[in-house]
Amino acid sequence: MSEDILKLSALQLDALREIGNVGAGNAATALSQIINRKIDMTVPQVSILPLGDVPDVVGGPDAMVAGVYLRVFGPAPGSILFLLPRDSAFYLVDMLMGRNHGDTQLLNSMDESALMEIGNILAGAYLNALSHFTKLTLLPSIPALAIDMAGAILSVILIQLGQMGDHALVIETEFTTEFDGVKGHFFLIPDPGSLAIIMAAIGVKD
């Protein structure tokens, strides 16, 4: 088994969880300020999953979701994906555009831009934390949006990982707003090879 991620120690997984915690905390704060709502966040899960099982995290491969995808550039490249059930994406757009809850049924180009910008801000907040811990300069690409089946959207990332192994290291946090039923999952998926660089940068050997 040549996969790096299967060799991570408990201490290394803890370090990743802590980075995820601070990163997602930053991101949740940013989101909460934008939509002016209280946001609850779960403790990040750091899991190593067979590639085919990753879509189950968000309700299965045929669940309807909106996904904002960004590449991470720098010494430890990777992918960031903010996935939310389609209904949640519509509710979020309601809040951003000042509509009544449930009004948005289809996204116009302005709505799409707004969702991409949310992805951008969340990714920026998250990467700030990761950069702070690692002293590595990590920058997000411009965001891209798709509304489709979860398996189809996740395939973009899973295929990249599939070249190197059969497992994905997923650092995942769930966000929920108090009253509006907005749920979202935030994934950070380091490229193969990036994990070793992150680990070396934070000085957690094993």
Binding site: G52, G151, A152, V156, I159, M164
Partner: protein, 161 residues
């Protein structure tokens, strides 16, 4: 017994009538249906990558077009399929996200579909229908009682081949 057999990502399954084989949420991956209309046996593969020789980890043959196809083909033969009668239908190979400067990795859907066509040709399996490309996901189902290949999408409707 009629049964709906699920095929996960980087996997393939074979079966016989009256079962159906289904794979949910294909994006850049390609779903390959092989079918022998006479004995009503067939298989469905959900491949992720074109070429096992280009990958660092190739322990799972179902992940790659070049290995999944021959493996699945052999299993269909074992179930009673006859080489000269087996035909193929494929779907998937989308590009889910569009960036201005699409790198090779972003165009993997296109490369997947291309690889599948090439391997089918090499194995002398007739490709009867395909629904590939675009920027949307697909769910594919092969009905083994009649060989119909059903492709479902969210916004682009449903097609039968």
């Amino acid at each position: 017994m009629e049964e709906l057999i699920k095929v996960g990502m980087a996997d393939y399954k074979v079966g016989h009538s009256p079962s159906s084989l289904i794979s949910y949420g294909l994006g850049s991956c390609v779903g390959i249906a092989l079918y022998d209309p006479s004995t009503k046996v067939g298989g469905l593969a959900h491949i992720m990558l074109p070429d096992s020789t280009q990958a660092r980890s190739n322990e799972n043959p179902a992940k790659f077009a070049d290995t999944a196809l021959p493996f699945m083909f052999d299993e269909i033969i074992k179930l009673g399929g006859v080489k000269s009668r087996i035909v193929a239908k494929i779907a998937g190979g989308a590009q889910m996200f569009t960036f201005a400067n699409a790198t090779d990795i972003m165009r993997v859907g296109e490369r997947n579909a291309e690889a599948v066509r090439m391997i089918l040709k090499k194995m002398e399996i007739r490709l009867l229908a395909e629904d590939t490309g675009g920027n949307y996901g697909r769910t594919v189902e092969l009905k083994l009682d009649n060989g119909i290949f059903r492709v479902k999408t969210i916004d682009k409707g449903e097609k039968e081949f």
